[in-house]
Amino acid sequence: MITTDIIIIGAGPTGLFAVFEAGLLKLKCHLIDALPQPGGQCSEIYPKKPIYDIPAYPEILAGDLTDKLLEQCKQFEPGFTLGERAETIDKQEDGTFIVTTNKGTKHQAPVVAIASGLGSFEPRKPLLGNITDFEDKGVEYIIKEPELYRDKNVIIAGGGDSALDWSIFLADVAKSVTLVHRRNEFRGHLDSVEKVQELKNSGKISLITPAEITAIIGDDKVEALEITKKDEAPFTIETDHFIPLFGLSPKLGPIANWGLEIEKNAIKVNNALDYQTNIPGIFAIGDGNIYPGKLKLILCGFHEATLMCQAAYKIINPGKRYVLKYTTVAGIDGFDGTRKEAPKAVVKTID
């Protein structure tokens, strides 16, 4: 059991900034995210794209914003459960909550802040009627354990960075790697495209384009795929694994069943006060919440995170006095023993 003060579901910009604001109030945070890295959409969808409306940053790349938020909250030592999706929430008799992930990791805290944006990112599945029957029986949408593919025949489908990068990586691991894409053009970093070209020339990757997987063949596991090249008759190739990499799309997912009031795919909160949901102790901040006048902006998420932390402090420390401190005046005492503070003024006589 991981215990903390605030469980934050979603490690995007709002969740990361909440760690900092909580830290100022001496509250510890643990973040859960379905993606394998922090940053949410900023790292997953558009890390190389600029953002122009972060206060004091005329321009910042989404990936850099993530790095800076991680650096800003680092001394408050947030815990991370990454690559796991928050599945269930159970209120305990003592008023705390236990959040359990799809992999069974349990987290306990008196306050839960849902900063899940549009939801957890789920792989987009190709439209093949029986594909779900083969999940984990040769069909994998996400590569978790590359060793699974050692000395196996692998077919990868897709035309983006992940299809290219995994084809390159698995070329050294698998017995054979075949990359199937609907077009001859690939959308990826230039060096990945060039590397695939190189591996194709040296016979380490087979490229089938423009083509699509049109059927999965097998009894209780993947045995072969039917591939159809544009304007040609379908043919089959034997394979042990089929890895479709068509990107991720966000889904509200299990949170929809937590008893929270949902409107327009977002969680209703009390914006007059503290962004608490209809369940006391559970807050929703950032793009995933809704209230009159809501704007899905990172900067609004920062504000919501700050007010949420004040309310969390009152829940965790009932009746305890508190007064807002300015970081410039009070400095920052990290949980790691570090201290940041403004340099003392120099007082010296002028002769």
Partner: protein
């Protein structure tokens, strides 16, 4: 109707036809028009915000309008999307301009 508005028809994912007015002077694109009229649930359209990076605003263009030519990023995204047809476009890449008067599009299924 504002003189800067054009009339367009959008068929939603349930097959319902909406005849709506779209402003040409607000730098809006077709995805944003769909969102402003709430013709698809929030979170199911314009997920990436309009960067041609998610295909959630894919639509089929039914009318014979001369649309702005497809750029590389839109073409690449559509090559990875599902339910793609010859008349597929990403709504976020279609800027609302006076030439689109009478446009008819149909939203592609959610995926």
């Amino acid at each position: 109707m504002d003189s800067n508005d054009i009339k367009i028809t959008i068929i939603d994912r349930d097959g319902v036809k909406h005849n709506i007015e779209a402003p040409t002077d607000m730098a809006m694109n077709l995805m944003e028009i769909v969102r402003s009229y709430e013709l698809a649930p929030e979170g199911t359209i314009g997920v990436c915000g309009g960067m041609a990076m998610c295909a959630s605003c894919q639509c089929y263009v039914n009318s014979e309008h001369n649309l702005p030519e497809m750029q590389d990023d839109e073409e690449a995204m559509l090559s990875e999307a599902f339910y793609v047809k010859d008349n597929s476009r990403l709504g976020c890449q279609i800027h609302i301009s006076p030439e689109l008067e009478g446009l008819e599009v149909e939203l592609a299924p959610e995926s």
